[in-house]
Assembly symmetry: C2
Homo-oligomer: 126 residues x 2
């Protein structure tokens, strides 16, 4: 049975994988870490010069920029500047990406209406 | 048709109502403000000494503490301390509340898997 769970960003471990290069992330609310469903979120850290390439996925998503400076990559339209406290709503299947254009890490909170991040199928635009 | 929407916290207006006393809030992603669905979020500002009383609602919710110090109010169990970057997962229908125990505003991001905040039916524990 699900319970109220309180945690802290500092207590969540950074994740990394070869597939995702220098990107790092933390799972904050995610059913792979404790019993939860229907909402998940985490923190993505994009190092200076790094990017999460243009991609889309079935669920809608929200980005909240926590720190750093970057660009929201978009398909066939102008990119948009992002800074601390920028918010982005991304509808289902809309191509988007992130590029760090600053000298500090770009830290972004992602939010999905899913149980966990693992179930998101990322389809990168080639 | 839904589009990608980028906004900034500073451009969202504080909301207030007599019913909610000194609490103030901003809608960040909410279908009452632009076309979106299935995810909504906003910022709640609880002034020093203020609280959002113990209540429950049907959808699950996530809190992310942005600044200040407070307590998570819980039903028949101990309260829990909250500070910047605390995260709380609240399952469906679980009673919870917030109290500012510090000298600065307690600023909390709420996240729902709903189109908008308006559709949440708050049931306060008396």
């Amino acid at each position: 049975m699900e319970k109220i769970v309180t945690s802290h960003l500092d207590d969540c471990e950074w994740q990394q994988s070869e597939k995702h290069g220098k990107l790092r992330w933390k799972y904050l609310v995610d059913s792979t870490h404790f019993l939860s469903h229907g909402l998940s979120c985490g923190i993505l850290n994009v190092p200076p010069g790094g990017e999460l390439g243009l991609h889309h996925h079935s669920p809608q998503e929200i980005y909240l920029i926590r720190s750093g400076e970057g660009m929201l990559l978009l398909y066939e339209v102008e990119t948009q500047k992002l800074k601390k406290d920028s918010i982005v709503y991304i509808p289902k299947n809309h191509p988007h990406g992130l590029r760090n254009t600053g000298s500090e890490p770009l830290e972004v909170m992602w939010i999905f209406p899913t149980d966990c991040w693992e179930e998101i199928q990322y389809i990168f635009e080639s």
